[in-house]
């Protein structure tokens, strides 16, 4: 470490570290800036609904509000690769056949 520090003094690169940290924190903050208040609630309810059919984790649903020209786009990405079907949930969701 001592030898490495001799060649790559931490002070030399502090500006590069600053730039990297800023890029990460601002990407995060910008993404949250225009999100309307209902997005987290929408995401939670979507998880509840999808969970009746397949077993998914919270991080497998992404809800984004974007803009493409004049049109606002609500983009919902649900990853179900590897998710197990919920058999009990299916019955509950189709009450007509359960009786």
């Amino acid at each position: 470490m001592g030898l490495l520090n001799l060649f790559f003094s931490p002070h030399r690169h502090s500006a590069a570290i600053a730039k990297e940290r800023l890029k990460i924190v601002l990407a995060h903050e910008r993404a949250g800036r225009h999100a309307p208040d209902f997005l987290p609630r929408l995401q939670k309810e979507l998880i509840d609904v999808v969970c009746r059919y397949v077993e998914i984790r919270e991080d497998m649903i992404r809800v984004n509000l974007g803009k493409s020209g004049e049109t606002s786009l609500l983009e919902i990405n649900i990853e179900i690769d590897g998710a197990k079907p919920m058999l009990g949930g299916l019955r509950a969701a189709t009450p007509g056949k359960s009786g």
Binding site: H11, R12, A15, K19, L22, V25, L26, E29, R30, R33
Partner: protein
Amino acid sequence: MAKVVVITSGKGGVGKTTSAAAFAAGLALRGHKTVVIDFDVGLRNLDLIMGCERRVVFDFINVINGDANLNQALIKDKRNDNLFIFPTSQTRDKDALRREGVDRVLEELKQQFDYIICDSPAGIEHGAITALYFADSAIIVTNPEVSSVRDSDRIIGILASRSRRAERNEPPVELNLLLTRYDPARVAKGEMLTVEDVKEILSIPLLGVIPESESVLRASNTGTPVAFDSDSLAGRAYLDAVARFLGEQREMRFVKPERRNLFRVLFGRA
């Protein structure tokens, strides 16, 4: 058509008031009738930077409340006939800046001036939002330092969503970056974000780079906008920025470390 320009930053201490004073002085030197308004109610400082602190009789809040008329409150600069200072109140609290009142005063100023420079307080509270609300154009004063860049990004977001232009779906507030307290020697050593770094992160057009310079403190000590000191690096950098603001092409100076110059060493000019 008069243009309302807000000088803002989010973070405090980055050089908003210095830049507002220098920019207004630069526009006046170019022949444009310019007024610079202090929006920092309760923490009046533009008067000191402009060197007119002993001439303040009526202020912004007096005019908003109808206790004085505009021409009683405006202070004419003694160095340039095109330049006027509109001081704020030192005693009232910042909620005294009511939006309808500010709107009425700005409309009246637009009849008399080419440029209305609004010196915003720091932060994102009422005073700062009021200062940027009516802007046609914004100059984002940023230091090459992480907290200043982050706060500038926040202010850019607020300008895009909470300005009057945004609320009315009009063309957005024109955004420009002014990078201040830039130290080319430290940038060369990798100790400070470069101009390109900040430009890339904030992705707004660069209006100018003001080098860290002794002349800025000298200017505030004497109450002279630094743009009036055309021998100083910072003064020249502000005049360049004003020229670019007026649509001229100027090469970016003072971004590389200065070579040791015997004349400078002997005579100590910064």
